[in-house]
Every structure is written in C-alpha cells, then in structure tokens.
C-alpha cells in the first residue's frame, strides 16, 4: 500500500475519518479500553481466523481491475433479445453521477429530498405518456421480474377469476424461468400459446384464452424482433376471457409502435433500461405501468404530488400501505430497494431525446434492421429475415451451413451474434453498432 495521504494506515479502513487521538477520546467517553470490548459476541461464535483478503491501494486496484477486464474480448456486439443498447449521451453520466443523487437514500423524509422525488415523478409521467396508462411505478428490477409482478397482480385482482398465465411459446428462457419462480407459491400456472411466423397466433390464442385465464402476455417487438400486427385483437380476446392483457416492450419501441393503452393493454412491463443504461452485463430497469383501477395492487414505490405548508407543489412517496414496510406479509410485493438511479438516467435520456429524437431513434431501429437483413439475404446460402414481418432492431437469419460454426467464425473476426439453433442466427442492430454493419456483412461472407 503506497498511496500517499493521511488515510494510508497499516491497518484500518481508509473510509473512517478517525484520528488515533479521536478514537482514544471516544473510547474514553464510552468507558471502554478498546473497540473489541464493545462487542457482545459470545466466545463460541467469535471468528478468530483470517478472511484472507489482502487489502490493496486504490491505484493497485484500478490496475488489477483494468487488466482483469482487459481479458474480455473486444467484440462488436450484434446481440439483443431481452437486452438492448443505445448510445447514452455524456450528460446522462455527468448529471446522474452527482453525489446528491447517487449517494442518497429512499425518500422517507420528503422535505429534504424534493430533488430525487421530482425526478421520479417525472420518470413516472414519461412512462405514463409512452404507455398511455396513468399509473407507472418508479421501477422494478428488470423486465423479467416486472413480468413476474404483473402475473401476481393479475392473481390478486378480484375481477379476474382465472389462474392461467398465457405466454408466447417463444419467450426468452430466462424471463420464463423468473416468471416460474414468481408464480410458485400462488395458485397461478404458466402455459404457452403458439406463434405464427414470429408473431402471436391470434386464432390459437383465441381458442386458448377462456375464463380460466388470468393474464395474457404478449411482447412487441417479440423476442425475435418482429413487430406485432394484431394487438387490438389480442386486447379484445383478453377482455372477452375476463383476463388481463400484459404487454412487454421497451422505452425505445414505445416511442414508435402502437400505444399500449390504445390496444387495450392493462399492464405494461419491459426494459425501461433500453434508454439511459450502458451495456452492463444485463443490469436493467423494469418498467411497470397499469390502469387506475389497479392502483392499490401496484407493486413497488409510487411518488405523488402534494403540497407543503407554504402551499407550494411538492412530491412524496405515497400509497405506502401497499408496501412491505407497512403491510408486511400482506404487501403487494416484497420489493424495497429498487432501481431508482437507473430510472433517473432513463428519464434524463428520454428528456434529452425529446419526441423527435425518440421517434428518430425508433425509426432507425426499423430501417437499420431492414437494410442489414436485405444485405445478408443477398449472400448465397443465407436467408434473412426468416419471418415475413416488420422488424425492430433484430431479426432471425437462416443459414444453409451450421449456424454455430458460422457464429464461431464471426466471433473470431470480432463479431458477436446469437445462435438460435442449428440453422438459425439472430442479429441485432441499433445506433450503437450501425456503423459496423458493413464489416459484419463482409465477415458473414467470409464465414459462409
């Protein structure tokens, strides 16, 4: 340990400010000879060994982690499915890193936390605008846990008597696994409905959805990047069955595709982190919005407007009687710590884009996917897109040669794509990697 500075002690945390004189004075004040004396831990459970964790200096650690992360290969990622990247402007990093935001706690004393509360109120408002649904909470962990909470909400709502949660047969396997855990412990059960050329098979869904159905979950865009064409029909089928319609989407798609409220969605979940979050190994922000009638069943925190004694408009956490710290085992969810700071970043990014910027970004997701699919389709032995649908960001490619071998060759030339099965690959393009599509097409030609 060689960093200069007063906190460089042989033993001790650099993040406690005590000088040895202060420590001595404080021990004296509490009438103890040592810190160890203050611990009321019986001998038989005291730990006398070493943890074996060697302390390092800040400089050493920066070098250690830098070389650790340098072991990651530098690949251009054409990966999507349930996690999408868009360029995040510097101003989002800069402002979200302000310590007053970053190092604050949940706003249990609203008078001294108006700043963050207003940010969250603005986030809720932006999500309400995008979804058309009036009640948006201030975050779930990610899209998968948001879906789990949506299913549980459907299970609690009195107007719903069914217990079956219908999900697309093509759903990200991780999302399905999370959903299975969220409904374990309830009387809900998960079943699938078939897809037709990438999209919901509406006729099949119509046959499956009945009074035993609690929730119908549809994604737009789908996990294969196709854009749904008959969402209003799904809304009608779901209504007819007395079930809730949950739509899974993301903050970029919401700017362009059909407004969820207009097709009859009762709940919207998904990746709010498509905006505001850099690629971070799957760290997310779960979007959750619903109708006014389900307000008391909403999981997670809500910020509402109020007034202070001066008569000015203020913001505060509200309807907390839904939450675990008041309602305990009868709470709508166990969620406490959420993803508030990511919501702050997402709101900033949305505000930075504005309506034109968001629609442009969404349009780019359609155009880039279309033109890349066309270019790949021109290669002998490659067909893209496999589904005869409109696409958003990503699409599936059929290859005559084995897909895993092609993916391996692509990886060797610096490109990551997703292998769907023996002869299918999935390719995702956004503003972040759009400049690299020519290189990908060249590499594809090489690999075939």
């Amino acid at each position: 340990m060689t960093d200069a500075g007063r906190h460089e002690r042989a033993d001790g945390t650099p993040y406690a400010p005590h000088t040895s004189e202060e420590t001595a004075a404080m021990l004296d004040a509490v009438g103890a000879d040592s810190e160890a004396e203050l611990f009321d831990v019986p001998d038989d459970v005291r730990f006398d060994g070493n943890l074996g964790i060697e302390p390092r200096s800040e400089r050493e650690l920066r070098a250690e982690l830098s070389s650790m992360f340098a072991r990651n290969d530098d690949l251009t990622e054409f990966l999507g499915r349930d996690h999408h990247s868009h360029y995040v402007p510097s101003v989002v990093d800069d402002l979200s890193q302000r310590a007053e935001f970053l190092t604050s706690y949940t706003q249990y004393q609203p008078e001294i936390a108006q700043g963050f509360l207003q940010v969250l109120f603005e986030y809720q408002s932006l999500i309400a605008e995008l979804t058309g649904l009036p009640v948006a909470n201030c975050s779930m962990y990610d899209a998968a846990t948001g879906l789990g909470e949506a299913a549980r909400l459907a299970g609690r709502v009195r107007s719903v008597s069914g217990t079956r949660v219908l999900v697309p047969e093509r759903l990200h396997e991780n999302k399905r696994a999370v959903l299975d855990n969220y409904v374990d412990g309830t009387d809900l059960e998960v079943a699938t409905y078939p897809m037709d050329d990438g999209n919901v098979d509406v006729d099949a869904l119509s046959d499956l959805a009945d009074q035993g159905t609690a929730l119908v979950y549809v994604e737009n865009p789908t996990v294969r990047g196709t854009i749904e064409e008959r969402l209003a029909d799904v809304g009608a089928i779901t209504d007819e069955a007395g079930a809730l319609f949950c739509l899974g989407t993301d903050t970029v798609a919401l700017g362009l595709l059909e407004e969820p409220e207009s097709v009859g969605a009762d709940i919207v979940v998904g990746e709010a982190d498509a905006l505001g979050m850099p690629t971070a190994y799957g760290m997310g922000l779960g979007l959750f919005a619903t109708r006014e009638s389900f307000l008391r069943q909403v999981p997670g925190r809500l910020v509402g407007a109020s007034e202070d004694t001066s008569g000015r408009r203020t913001y505060t956490l509200t309807l907390q009687t839904r939450e675990q710290h008041i309602r305990k085992e009868r709470a709508t969810s166990n969620i406490c710590t959420n993803q508030a700071w990511v919501a702050l970043r997402t709101a900033m990014h949305l505000a930075w884009l504005g309506p034109d910027g968001l629609v442009d970004l969404g349009s780019q997701c359609v155009q880039e996917a279309t033109s890349l699919a066309n270019e790949l389709n021109d290669i002998q032995g490659v067909r893209a897109p496999v589904h005869d649908r409109h696409h958003f960001r990503e699409f599936v490619v059929r290859t005559d040669q084995p897909a895993p071998a092609i993916a391996e060759d692509l990886e060797a030339s610096g490109h990551a794509v997703h292998v769907v099965d023996e002869h299918l690959l999935q390719v995702c393009v956004t503003d972040v990697n759009a400049a690299e599509t020519d290189a990908l097409v060249d590499a594809f030609e090489e690999a075939i």
């Binding site: 004393q109 190994y281 309506p355």
Partner: protein
C-alpha cells in the same frame, strides 16, 4: 449546525417540471417508416435543450440530501461513505458487455464474479454464493426458495416461516411471496429472541427461521447457537438477513453461528451507493448441502479459465440475467480496498460511533449493549416530529417509529463514516430537537427546500404524473 437547503422556484412550486418548460407533439404516423396501423398516432414529450436539462437536474440535485452532503444515520440502512474510485472501475468500457456473450469472450467479467463470490463466502462463513439477486428482498426471496427446494428434495412438506416481530418488513413479504405462512415471533423482554416463544413456534411445519444478528435494535442474539439447534432439531433451516452485517465484519460469521442461508446487502455493508432507492444487490450464501439449489447459471474457475454452469437442482432464475453488475463491481473494489484489517476496522468504528453517539444523547435507550445501531426513544414526544425538527439542524434524522416494540423509536446508525466532531454535531441536533417546544416541532422543518408536506392528502387523492396535475387544473 447551520444549514439552509437550496430552494429554487416561485410561489406555486419549486423547480418546474420538464413538462412545464415546453413540450412538443410529433405525428408518429408521418415520421415513421412503418405502416401507420403498426405505429402510435402521436407522441408528446418535453423538449428541453441540453443546457436547460443540465441546469434542471443540477438544481434538483441541490434540493436533495445525500451521504456526501452530511450525516445520514438511518438505522438498518448503513449509509456509509461510497468511495469515488469504485465508480471509475465500474465504468471500465471493457466491462460493458452484453449478458449473452459466450463465456470464452468475457473471462474478465466472470473472473470478477468468481472473485466476489469467494470474498463474500469468506466474510459470511458460507460455502457457496450466488450474485444474481438484485436487492436484499430479492435475496430473501431467493434464499427462501432455496430452502423450499431443499425441503422438497427430501419430500419434506413444510408450510411455515418464522419471523421475529421486529424483523424488516421484507422478511414477512418474501416468505409470503414464496408461498409460506408467516409465523410472527414476539420480541422477548430483553429485546432478543424469547427462547420459550421460539420453542412454542417451532414445529415440523417450520421451513425456516429468518433472523437478523445483531437484531434490529443492535443487540447480538447471544443464544444464537441454542436458537440454531432448536430450529435444526425441528428440521428447519436458519436464514440470516444481512442488513446488519456491518457490525460483525471479520469478528463473527453467520456460517459459524449455525446459519444455513444468508443474504448480503452490498449497498449497505459494502458501500455501494444507494442511488435514491436502488440499485442494490442481494447476493445469497449457503452452506454446502444447499449449493445445488442456487439460481443458474453459476460461475466457477477451472484451470485458470472461468465458466458458467447450471447447478443440478437449481431453483431457476430470480433476475433476467446475472443481477446488478455495476453494483457488484463496486462491492468487489470496496472489499478488496479494505481487506481483512480494513473490514474489521470498519465494523469496529461503526460500533464505536454508535456507542459514542448514544453516550452524548439525552434520550432513553431501552436496549443495550448495542453494536452498530441503537433504538433511542422520543418518550412522550412524537418521533416523527422530532425527526422533522432535526432536519433544521443540518442533519438527516434516524429511522423513526421502527421497530414498533420500542415506543416512538429513533433507530440510529451513524456508520463508521462520521468523526467525533460530526457525531457531536449530530448529538446536538438530537438533543436540541428534543428540547424544543411542541410549537417548534410542529412548525418544522423550515430550512429544507420544502416545509412540512401533507402526505395524507397525497395518499387520499393520488396524483402520480403531470397528466394528473393537468386534470386537476
């Protein structure tokens, strides 16, 4: 301490909403490359320029308290200093990878995860750790599911989870979410688990007992070995809620006390920033026999290479991917910065600070000897009012009215990040507020951005977006 919080705005409101400085509506059908029946009709959003946004958010930040602003002694929340360098290491562009990259191409990412699993296992005295749960409550949900899978694997059908009355609300909610009936255990006279009450509660229906140690008033459960025996003899598992682990680093380990499953709150104990409510991370540690039930995939090292694998009887997944990556990097950096001696010292200083602060307070503190936190009582005053008055003395108040078995509780956890002078200021804020008149308390706060906020009306007539405000007008 003298303190006036920033206060922008006019007679009607503080900083204007994004929607109040201008919005625009785009005709999406017109602007999009898709057929119009696949798109929304229009989109209305705020239209602030970058300079305006920069000022908006900077002003909002100034109207917000934080650890870097001043003392933040919320009991059970461990609002310690968040080292700056951890932000820099987490922002390394080489670590910004998509979660579906192949294992061979993200060896650095997996190495960090394996390293953090190892550190946490050592600190908790556990055999295996998953980093997937994205928060403490998600850790509880995971841990209880692991316990459930364990019992089911033995064809042992159990229906109850026992939770002390003083436990965090999440314990009750997590157990209920996993499908268990919650049995509430009343607190003993001395603030600890009452062994007779536990004896009465434990049965062949007991899947687990969830405990925090030190408990929510900072007391070490001295009978922990006996408690563990009682639960284990009945065939149940012992679950450790890691919220108060900051008191014990390097001095005692849940695994050594007989706990079978635990979660760590890395945003508390390991100094990752709370971000206004999250993200956190709630890794779960288990003893050997339970490792095969942990969420998939897990990370392991084999001849210097790292790989992902699915445990044999995994409960599946609790997060879409591998949890809150950025938080996990910061936790690794913090633990490695401190090492054995630093971690032990962090606990020692947090306990010293709580004891020193308590010594300066003119409040009754019914339960001791406490460790990193203590529950003072406001006696015949309203703890919430005293807390509002403390805001005017330039500090954040403690957690109020919780735990419920302490009347008018003020649960206080100064953490190791305060020095003697700062603790003296904090004590003065406590004592001054307590000495002030009922009128002064009722009129507080006055030095914060907002004066007392009407929370009852907010709940009675919810206005949850700027659209709701427009409807009102």
């Amino acid at each position: 301490m003298n303190h006036d919080q920033a206060r922008y705005g006019d007679d009607d409101r503080y900083e204007p909403l994004l929607s109040e400085t201008g919005t625009a509506t785009v005709d999406v059908d017109e602007a999009s490359p898709l057929p119009t029946d696949l798109t929304r009709d229009e989109l209305e959003l705020p239209t602030s320029s970058e300079p305006e946004l920069s000022r908006h958010y900077t002003r909002l930040s100034q109207m917000n308290w934080s650890v870097e602003t001043g003392p933040y002694p919320l009991g059970s929340c461990t609002m310690k200093y968040n080292p700056s360098f951890t932000e820099d290491v987490a922002a390394d562009p080489n670590a910004a990878v998509h979660p579906e990259r192949s294992e061979e191409t993200i060896q650095g990412t997996l190495e960090l995860l394996a390293g953090l699993q190892d550190y946490l296992a050592r600190i908790g005295g556990m055999d295996a750790v998953t980093l997937q749960p994205p928060a403490g409550a998600a850790g509880e949900f995971t841990g209880i599911h692991v316990a459930k899978a364990y019992h089911e694997s033995r064809e042992d059908d159990r229906s109850e989870v026992i939770v002390p009355a003083s436990a965090h609300g999440t314990n009750f909610a997590s157990a209920a979410m996993a499908g268990y009936d919650v049995v509430e255990l009343p607190s003993g006279e001395d603030g600890r688990v009452d062994l007779d009450a536990l004896e009465a509660a434990v049965s062949e229906e007991t899947a687990a007992l969830m405990l925090t140690n030190p408990n929510t008033v900072g007391l070490f459960e001295r009978d922990i070995v006996e408690i563990a025996d009682m639960v284990h003899d009945a065939g149940g598992l012992l679950y450790y809620d890691g919220a108060n682990l900051n008191a014990l680093l390097g001095r005692a380990r849940p695994g050594d006390m007989g706990f079978d499953v635990m979660h760590y709150n890395v945003h508390k104990t390991f100094a990752t920033p709370h971000g206004g409510g999250g993200p956190g991370a709630g890794p779960v540690g288990v003893r050997k026999e339970l490792a095969e039930f942990l969420p998939r995939p897990r990370v392991r090292e084999h001849d210097g290479e790292y790989e992902l694998y699915d445990p044999e009887r995994s409960i599946g997944k609790v997060h879409g991917y591998q949890g809150n990556w950025l938080v996990l990097v910061k936790a690794y950096a913090y633990i490695a910065r401190l090492g054995d001696t630093g971690l032990e010292d962090a606990s020692a200083k947090s306990v010293l600070n709580a004891n020193y602060l308590a010594e300066q307070l003119e409040y009754d503190i019914p339960y001791s000897p406490f460790h990193h936190e203590f529950a003072a009582t406001a006696g015949d005053r309203d703890a919430a009012d005293v807390a509002k008055r403390m805001l005017d003395y330039g500090v954040h108040p403690p957690t109020t009215k919780w735990p419920e078995f302490v009347p008018e509780a003020m649960l206080t956890e100064p953490t190791e990040a305060e020095n003697k002078t700062s603790l003296d200021d904090l004590a003065e804020a406590f004592n001054s507020a307590m000495a002030d008149s009922a009128e002064e308390l009722a009129a507080a706060p006055s030095k914060t951005t907002a004066s007392r906020i009407d929370q009852a009306t907010a709940a009675r007539e919810p206005q949850l977006s700027w659209h709701a405000l427009d409807d009102e007008e």
